[in-house]
């Protein structure tokens, strides 16, 4: 009873703190907005946001520092459902969700919705299959559960390896995001940005482990949701007249669809697309016989120049011809690269992709493959969500099983707020560009377009292809990350909102990185060191080792991300497929099927992982370019969705191998019963015996 009183007192205290905090943050933004009007420079606004928010996270980290084992690993198991939901939301939403999601939807239209569905629907699986049972089990990590349920160190080892692999891949992407945001908004160098962000991550997770990470993540969620909503609501009100644009953008989508048709039929647009198609065809033809076309191309330019000179042409024409000759590739290899680039322009020769249309494709077969890939991504992201250790770990921190269930509800609710806004933002941004950018004069582009095209041609590139001085849609090339970053300016908001968005992106990246680093360090210190190497280690020693490992892992991850590794989105997707194949079958079958045993789990996890890795290695260009023999796609399914083979195979293997070998011991069966009921008389004895 006493516990109940202190619990609700704790909760109301938390509510008070965070309300003050949210109010304080809004006040801070307003103050900066006033300062901007009085002439504070953009760079200083960037610095203020960067250092104020990181300082704040560090402050929370210092205030909640701890060396106690249960505080360090599971925040003392007294995080109320509502706050655990916010923390999970921040833990979950990474830089990719915050910055990349709306861009993916902008470029991919309906197809991008696979990510939105996959990254939300997975929580149904977490709620129905995992969270309450793991909470009842009540240990510290996910390998803990696997080891206890199936017995033996082999299962734990596979668990540790899988947990570290998928978390590490993911954390590299986060730290990369931190570097990108800090460097873009403050002008610091990318490498410096990475390490400034890293300091923010470390100060909090190292001092206070899960406890500090939890309370910082709540703070980070509040910042990131304010930052995401502000510009969207503004832009939405501008275009729909309703301050809840998520409801009203259906009509905007209709207008976008009509404008797409207009753009497809417009003769000027067709002219530009034809130029691209011709250039692509010319590039392809040149590639067919590169040596010959290289000499022919050069000779032609030289001839032209000679002709101009001999006919006493005006000086500017001669200069242009000289310039063209100078720009001609130095050798055949260079020319080949240039022609390959030109062939790539074929993509820009296509009319705009209809935003709302599901699975566009040239024929029935192509459409069905598109549909299968949509479903493949949804499937892998959902089951991957329900198997990522850094998310599942969060449900160890609630005070009870019921709170764990409610906490999944709040988690998804808070994630939902951002994810149902992203498709809306994509449509609004597209409409704005169709109406304000397309058809404008090159001499007087909208302010934001001119500014961003200067900042980074990879994000926005507008070139007058057909030289008519007017912007055609086909002449605009947009990078996905632009959408969120430039929305404040598209909506005509002051720069302070851009700073706010950057702070939100930073919060998203930092919070996810925190959770992931903690998962890796715990897998190493708790599962590997304490459970397998030195079970007699004192609690202080365990926590200290965890802190040291955290630092080491963080530095390695920062080093890897400063190398700017390639396709990060693929790596993130791959992490989900791997987690779905390795973890989901043994976790869920361990709870719902008493007969599942050690050998079933070992062989099942290995089989799921193996098929997943095999499929990716044989089909993904990164590996096949390194010399792995290529194989055709199975059913046309893309390598990211390898989990669609791994997960069912893992399930079936566990089932067959378990039935072929001896059933698990009575103690294990009792453990399964123990986790199935929130409270059984005699629970206390069981937990003491462990």
């Amino acid at each position: 009873m006493n516990q109940a009183v202190s619990h609700s007192a704790f909760k109301s205290q938390l509510k008070k703190y965070y309300s003050f905090y949210a109010g304080g943050f809004i006040g801070f933004v307003i103050l900066l907005a006033i300062a901007e009007q009085m002439g504070l420079s953009k760079q200083w606004i960037g610095y203020w946001f960067l250092f104020a928010t990181i300082g704040l996270y560090a402050g929370i980290g210092i205030m909640t520092r701890t060396s106690e084992v249960s505080e360090y690993y599971v925040a003392g198991r007294r995080v109320p459902a509502f706050f655990n939901g916010m923390a999970t939301g921040a833990d979950w939403m990474s830089a990719a969700s915050f910055i990349g999601m709306a861009g993916t939807l902008f470029l991919g239209g309906f197809d991008g919705l696979a990510w939105v569905m996959g990254w939300t629907g997975g929580y149904c699986l977490v709620a129905l299959f995992l969270a309450p049972y793991l909470r009842k089990f009540g240990q510290f990590t996910i390998p803990d559960f696997l080891a206890e349920r199936y017995g033996g160190n082999i299962v734990r080892t596979i668990g540790i390896i899988s947990a570290i692999t998928c978390s590490f891949v993911y954390v590299v992407a986060q730290i990369y995001g931190v570097g990108l945001i800090t460097s873009r908004f403050t002008g610091l160098e990318f490498g410096v940005g990475v390490f400034v962000g890293l300091a923010g991550i470390l100060v909090c997770s190292m001092l206070g482990g899960m406890r500090a990470v939890t309370w910082t993540q709540v703070a980070q969620y509040i910042i990131l949701i304010i930052a995401y909503m502000t510009p969207v609501v503004w832009l939405g009100t501008k275009h729909t007249g309703i301050p809840i644009p998520q409801i009203a953008y259906g009509y905007t989508l209709q207008k976008v669809t009509e404008l797409e048709k207009k753009i497809t039929a417009d003769p000027k647009e067709q002219e530009v697309r034809k130029i691209f198609a011709d250039r692509a065809a010319a590039g392809k033809a040149a590639l067919a016989d590169s040596d010959k076309s290289y000499t022919a191309g050069k000779a032609k330019l030289e001839q032209e120049l000679a002709g101009l000179k001999s006919s006493n042409a005006p000086a500017d024409k001669v200069a242009a011809a000289e310039k063209a000759l100078a720009a001609y590739p130095k050798d055949v290899a260079d020319a080949k690269k240039a022609w390959t680039r030109e062939t790539g322009l074929a993509a820009r020769a296509a009319p705009p992709r209809p935003h709302a249309q599901a699975f566009p494709g040239k024929d029935e077969a192509a459409q069905n493959t598109a549909r299968l890939n949509f479903i493949g991504i949804v499937f892998c992201m959902m089951f991957g969500t329900a198997a990522l250790p850094h998310i599942l770990m969060r449900y160890y921190t609630t005070p009870s099983v019921q709170e764990a269930r409610v906490s999944v509800f709040w988690s998804l609710f808070f994630i939902f707020l951002l994810y149902f806004t992203a498709p809306c933002l994509a449509v609004l941004a597209k409409y704005d560009m169709f109406t304000n950018l397309v058809g404008s004069q090159f001499a007087s582009l909208p302010g934001w377009a001119a500014a961003w095209a200067l900042v980074d041609p990879g994000l926005l590139n507008i070139t007058d292809i057909n030289k008519d001085g007017i912007v055609q849609w086909a002449e605009v090339l947009i990078g996905g990350d632009l959408i969120v970053l430039a929305t404040p300016e598209i909506a005509g908001l002051p720069y302070v909102v851009s700073g706010l968005v950057a702070a939100g992106g930073l919060a998203a990246a930092l919070s996810t990185a925190d959770g992931l680093l903690l998962t890796i360090a715990n897998a190493l210190s708790h599962d590997l060191y304490y459970k397998m190497i030195d079970p007699s280690a004192s609690t202080t020693k365990r926590v200290t080792i965890s802190k040291v490992l955290l630092l080491v892992v963080a530095i390695i991850a920062a080093y890897v991300s400063s190398q700017k590794p390639g396709d990060i989105l693929f790596l993130v997707g791959a992490a989900f497929s791997l987690a779905a194949s390795a973890f989901f079958p043994p976790l869920v079958m361990g709870i719902f099927w008493k007969r599942a045993n050690k050998w079933g789990a070992i062989v099942g996890m290995a089989a799921g992982l193996a098929i997943c890795i095999y499929y990716m290695m044989r089909t993904y260009p990164f590996f096949t370019n390194m010399g792995v023999p290529v194989m055709p796609l199975w059913f046309g399914l893309s390598p990211v969705s390898a989990g669609m083979f791994g997960l069912p195979l893992g399930m079936v293997t566990i089932w067959i191998v378990s039935l072929l070998t001896a059933p698990p011991s009575k103690e294990v069966q009792e453990l399964v019963e123990h986790v199935r009921y929130p409270h059984l008389t005699g629970d206390e004895i069981v937990s003491e015996a462990r």
Binding site: S8, L113, M117, T120, P399, V408, E673
Partner: protein, 88 residues
Amino acid sequence: MQLTQKHNEYWRKNLVVTAVLLLVWFIVTFVEAWYARELNTMTFFGFPFGFYMSAQGSLAIYVIIIGIYAWYMRKLDLEYGVDEGDLE
């Protein structure tokens, strides 16, 4: 401890509600996505219906599924005396 008839009944009911909610989840996810082209011919608040479901409708249903599960299980816990006492 030895499980009673009542405990088994609790677990069975838990499995039933899990299965029912999972079926709803399956329909609004995979059946919806499979027929997205057909659904898109209908209009809902100005949206093509398939687009609306994938962007908002299914997501909202996910939140509701989890809410119903938490509420129902709390009721079941109390009914079968396996609740964790007055922690809340």
